[in-house]
């Protein structure tokens, strides 16, 4: 990365800047089935980041739409753990659909209604037309929709961004060297409408529950907030 690229204000022109604010519809996939926890946490952080794009004091709930198959294989959402990712129990709504078709329909209703800040659906193979509908619904309801996919997908989708998430060995715990420390993961942006792809090593920001670019870890990219002269001011405050 050259210092000159740091001066660009627009994400579109600077591929190395981690796009913090979510697009109306994004796709998050786990690199391997075992990375589902990391992928889910990343998806939640994208949902919470909707705060940046819409109202600053977002209180609308967030919906998790699951299918029966997924529940049987992956387990059920646990609000006690989602709290750590900036989603309080009072903002969580869990929608249990049986099949994927129903789940996609449910997410569309959620997004369209405008009563939810966002929604996440677990989907193996959403048809292209459905993803288009979801994107429109998300725009209409000023919400963020996330398609959480079990594995890497190369098919057509209307999602503006496609992420691939892999867990990374955690950082050092301040008190216990043997304990798992700060959560880290690798977020690869495989495709985006507004620029070339990129990859970032992210770690959890303990203050906000969201992710920040792990500074000095891999050198793949920088955080928006760490750019000098950013008009958004102190990026950390805006971290979702």
């Amino acid at each position: 990365m050259t210092p000159a690229s740091l001066l660009h204000r627009s994400e579109a022109l600077n591929p190395a800047v981690f796009p913090r604010a979510a697009e109306p519809l994004e796709e998050v996939g786990a690199e391997a089935p075992g990375d589902v926890g990391a992928a889910l946490a990343f998806a939640l952080s994208r949902l919470v980041s909707a705060r940046l794009t819409s109202a600053p004091n977002e209180t609308r709930p967030v919906a998790l739409v699951t299918t029966a198959d997924w529940l049987a294989e992956r387990g059920r959402p646990f609000a006690g753990g989602m709290r750590d990712w900036g989603l309080g129990a009072d903002r969580l709504i869990w929608v249990r659909a049986r099949r994927e078709g129903e789940a996609l329909w449910a997410l569309e209703e959620v997004l369209k209604s405008g009563t939810a800040a966002g929604g996440l659906v677990v989907a193996a193979a959403p048809p292209f037309v459905t993803t288009r509908r979801l994107e429109f619904a998300a725009r209409e309801g000023q919400a963020v929709g996330i398609l959480l996919r079990a594995g890497p997908a190369g098919d057509l989708s209307a999602a503006r961004r496609r992420w691939r998430i892999a867990a990374r060995p955690s950082g050092l715990d301040a008190w216990d060297a043997d304990a798992p420390g700060t959560v880290r993961l690798r977020a690869e942006l495989l495709r985006r409408r507004d620029g070339p792809p990129g990859a970032w090593d992210l770690e959890q920001d303990d203050e906000t529950g969201g992710f920040r670019v792990a500074a000095g870890l891999a050198g793949h990219g920088v955080d928006e907030g760490e750019r000098p002269g950013d008009e958004r001011g102190d990026g950390r405050r805006a971290v979702a």
């Binding site: 075992g34 990375d35 589902v36 926890g37 990391a38 889910l40 946490a41 990343f42 939640l44 609308r60 709930p61 992956r74 387990g75 059920r76 959402p77 646990f78 609000a79 006690g80 753990g81 989602m82 709290r83 750590d84 990712w85 129990a89 009072d90 903002r91 969580l92 709504i93 869990w94 929608v95 249990r96 659909a97 049986r98 129903e102 329909w105 449910a106 209703e109 959620v110 369209k112 209604s113 405008g114 009563t115 939810a116 892999a166 867990a167 990374r168 060995p169 955690s170 715990d173 216990d176 043997d178 304990a179 798992p180 420390g181 959560v183 880290r184 993961l185 959890q204």
Partner: protein, 513 residues
């Protein structure tokens, strides 16, 4: 109204011919006895309660089948639901065995069906179409109608208002719904018709018949004449708000139902709005030509009275779930449950014009109507430290459930495996953290671990622990494997103290981010 129990069992392909004597038999203390018979059997002189062997001696070609009382009763109940098209209050009358029937409260409602005579005609015509022979009567009291329906010469009898006394005077004493011993006694006194009792002193009448039977005679007479009231016990509570329409021709397609549904919703909405109430539970009932009903129900997360919202829910639930059979000739939309509306609501059609709680309620209703009740949930913290018990997902309401303050901020997984899954582990020390474990057949090496976090079992609660075994202490560990994936493992049972029944075992309870 009286419908023949035997006929109601019919309608199947192997129904006996009406010309051949046929009886349903029942096994009792005195062997097989006749429980119900058709006209042909009755014409041969057979009667109810007769010994089956005697009956066979009289009519050797008598065909019989075992009586299924529960099914008869069930069929009668179904018919009662169907009869709700005429009145919201329909009772199944089972006071006397083999004299079962339905009682409908038609107070002030007969004019809706073109008057009482038309009503009876319509009722019997519809039943006849469904192959249910019936007799019916209308009178001032349930007991009076009961007697007239069963013992009047005419299968359709109407006792004009205030003239019931004369109308039932000529009926046989059986019309009073008396026990057999009281009947025998009355007959012994030469009292054969109900009218014979009118002139007798009541005190004497009550004294003459020993015990409860005497009081019963007076009570039954009073009930028939309306001196004491006899409340009906409807099969289900009458809905407070209902709207119905009758089709000229039976409707066999869902489109026909969908076409008329907006009218119903509007009518129901007006009723609800007039009282400032909203429906919490809606039922759409189709009355089929074969004497059955078909229903779809939706539950609302918050009271609503807006026709558009009700329509949307019913459509989302799926009108195709109505089993129209050979067609329905009446349709009813009712609010089975209604509650006062706390907030004045705007137009539910456009969600964004509504206040957030109402819009959310509308969304929850829509989702639940299609996905099933209880499909939309919100977390509710419970007073328990056992993870799977400490957090319940309760049915969603527009307002988030109140949460007790979080007990602590110890790390918790974002996905919980419920029930926990067994893992094989290798640990350095028997009561230490695992070094390796195998979950779902994949071996994993533990790089970092933290624990134990000891959670004792809640001895004051009953119920089994993991894998239906008695609950034991759990030691939770947060472990990370080489790839950086984090898991929540626990060892169930303590070495040395709780390993009497079986050795402590390892389980995987959740996945961290």
């Amino acid at each position: 109204m009286k419908a023949n129990g035997q006929a109601m069992n019919g309608g199947t392909a192997d129904a006996p011919s009406p010309d051949a004597p046929f009886a349903l038999v029942e096994r009792g203390a005195r062997g097989l006895t006749l429980n119900a018979l058709n006209d042909a059997a009755r014409a041969l002189g057979l009667h109810r309660g007769q010994n089956h062997a005697d009956a066979c001696a009289i009519a050797p070609h008598l065909a019989s089948a075992p009586a299924e009382m529960e099914h008869d009763l069930e069929a009668l109940r179904r018919l009662a639901l169907w009869a709700e098209r005429f009145s919201p209050a329909v009772a199944v009358d089972t006071a006397l065995p083999a004299q079962e029937g339905l009682l409908l409260d038609m107070t002030g409602a007969a004019h809706l069906f073109g008057g009482e005579a038309e009503l009876l005609k319509d009722l019997r015509r519809r039943l006849a179409k469904a192959a249910i022979p019936a007799r019916a009567a209308i009178a001032d009291t349930p007991a009076g109608a009961w007697a007239l329906a069963r013992f009047s010469h005419d299968p359709e009898t109407i006792a004009p208002p205030g003239r019931l006394r004369e109308a039932i005077a000529g009926l046989p004493m059986e019309g009073l719904r008396l026990e057999s011993e009281a009947l025998v006694l009355l007959k012994r006194f030469g009292l054969k018709q109900i009218g014979d009792l009118y002139g007798l002193p009541r005190a004497g009448l009550a004294r003459r018949f020993r015990g409860a039977a005497g009081l019963r005679v007076v009570e039954r007479l009073d009930q028939a004449l309306g001196v004491v009231s006899e409340p009906l016990e409807p099969v289900r509570p009458a809905p407070l708000y209902r709207a119905g329409i009758v089709f000229a021709e039976p409707v066999t397609h869902v489109e026909g139902v969908a076409w008329r549904l907006p009218d119903l919703a509007r009518a129901l909405g007006q009723q609800l709005e007039r009282d400032g109430r909203g429906a919490r539970r809606l039922a759409l009932v189709g009355f089929r030509v074969d004497g059955r009903t078909t229903t779809i129900e939706v539950t609302l997360s918050a009271p609503a009275a807006t026709p558009d919202h009700m329509l949307r829910l019913l459509r989302e639930k799926g009108l195709e779930h109505l089993d129209l059979g050979f067609g329905i000739d009446a349709l009813m939309l009712c609010a089975r449950q209604a509650e006062p509306m706390s907030i004045r609501q705007g137009e539910m059609g456009d969600d964004r014009q509504m206040a957030q709680p109402q819009a959310l309620a509308a969304l929850i209703d829509r989702l639940e109507a299609r996905l099933g009740e209880g499909a939309v949930r919100r977390p509710q913290a419970r007073e328990s430290w056992i993870p799977e018990r400490g957090e319940a997902w309760v049915r969603a309401a527009p307002e988030a459930p109140s949460q007790p303050p979080a007990r602590d901020d110890r790390p918790r997984p974002i996905l919980l495996l419920d029930p926990p899954e067994p893992v094989e582990t290798l640990a350095e020390l028997p009561d230490g953290a695992p070094m390796r474990f195998t979950w779902r057949r994949a071996p994993r090496r533990v790089v970092k671990s933290q624990g134990p976090e000891r959670l004792g079992h809640e001895w004051w609660r009953s119920g089994p622990g993991v894998a239906n075994r008695p609950p034991r202490t759990r030691d939770y560990y947060r472990v990370e494997d080489e790839q950086g994936r984090r898991y929540w493992l626990f060892r169930e049972g303590l070495y040395g103290r709780e390993d009497a029944d079986h050795r402590p075992s390892w389980w995987l309870h959740g996945v961290f981010a």
